[in-house]
């Protein structure tokens, strides 16, 4: 696993910086830009194994795609420290890149800046809702001091993904995966999962 330093997560654009592996090893093939774009398209179909409604790009965990002479590097960031899907996701990405003839794939992890549910795309949020999972609210507006929580107060306005009612209640703070909590709708009586904002 590559340990990124704080200086390295500036430009997400594959063309923008030399990247931590150094300019010397970066590929100089004329079709690199097309290959990187194709890789991004391939990644749009690689699904999260635990929420198989959305892809890794919908989820916002692909931080960079870089063409090297000997490999196509995909930089991913973990959702939760202990997320058991991390290894399966890396394997799925690797297989998809290889199958598209863009490989060999090289998966590296970039831990900082930490993933936030704010990076889930608008399309990803729609897909979650259609799948029956209430998407997370925004957390970007929170002040840094909110990272140390005052006391047991969390925003709890989670509209039902099925009927849209705001009359919902939390059944459990944790759900079937690390990223979800369990709710139920008081209006339509359906239980549903909520993707926790972090």
């Amino acid at each position: 696993m590559v340990s990124p330093s704080r200086a390295e997560y500036g430009a997400p654009s594959p063309e923008g910086t030399a990247g931590r592996l150094g300019a010397a090893r970066r590929s100089a093939r004329p079709d690199d830009r097309a290959r990187v774009e194709q890789a991004w398209r391939v990644l749009q179909d690689v699904l999260d194994p635990e929420v198989p409604a959305i892809s890794v790009t919908d989820l916002g965990i692909v931080r960079d795609v870089i063409a090297h002479e000997d490999a196509m590097e995909v930089v991913v960031t973990p959702t939760y420290s202990g997320c058991p899907a991390t290894e399966v996701i890396a394997q799925s990405i690797s297989e998809a890149i290889d199958a598209a003839g863009l490989g060999p794939a090289r998966i590296t992890q970039r831990r900082a800046p930490a993933w936030t549910t704010d990076w889930i795309t608008p399309e990803g949020r729609d897909k979650l809702r259609r799948y029956g999972i209430a998407p997370p609210g925004a957390c970007a507006s929170e002040p840094a001091s909110a990272k140390v929580a005052p006391i047991r107060l969390m925003a709890r306005h989670v509209p039902c993904p099925r009927c849209g009612s705001e009359q919902t209640e939390r059944l459990a703070a944790f759900g079937s995966t690390a990223c979800k909590a369990l709710y139920r709708c008081v209006s339509c009586r359906e239980p549903f999962e909520h993707f926790k904002p972090i």
Binding site: G82, A112, P113, K147, V148, A149, A172, F174
Partner: protein
Amino acid sequence: MTAVASIEIKAAPAQEYLLRIGDTCLIHAQRLAEWSGHAPILEEDIALTNLALDLVGQARALLTHAGAALGYDEDQLAFLRDERDFRNATLVELPSRKGGRDFADLALRNFVLAAWLNVLWAKLEASSDAEVAAIAGKAVKEARYHVAHAAEWVVRLGDGTDESARRMARAVERTWPYLAELFEDDAVDEAAERAGLGPRRSALRADWAALVEPVLADARLAVPEAGQFRSTGMRGVHSEHFGYVLAEMQVLQRSYPGGVW
């Protein structure tokens, strides 16, 4: 079947500092896992194992990072060290389902530790070690959720029925003597602070108290006066309970070296 020899750790202060945090997360998770299938309600059963999952993830990141400087990987550090080479706070190794302890003890332990970790991770985001800062940036969000969840139980039980309040008050009495260790410095803390690696433990007390005291007040729980007892797990001197924790946690790797799922 051949048992493997233990590894011995000669850690510099920086690794010592990281092992204290990583081991505290790891052993806390191990004790939480004992509750799988035994929590009072199904939702809490799932919650406790989810908390443990986050803690194991945080421990893995820290042990991997500290281990890189020590020449060991996360698995060797977790499964092949003996008691004296673990640096977790004593509190996390104490039984939480036996010896008269019950769910009240666990809820309180979860709360005080989540608050401690929340405050610590927030300060570690400014670490001079970029990897530590990155690990903290992720973990601080998880710890915050843990604080919120655990606080709800502390209030529900402390300000609940006579029986739940009695049990929670006893849990406070049993837990509080082990908290001093979380806030007192030694040479490792001083070295970490000098290097910009992370805060000294005494620097966590004010923020921790600001998180914990309002919840205890809501729970109608009185804080005991400070006593003389000092636990020493972070120096590698553990309670009589710890060997049993390691025996259960390590038995597979000790008996079947390198075994994988």
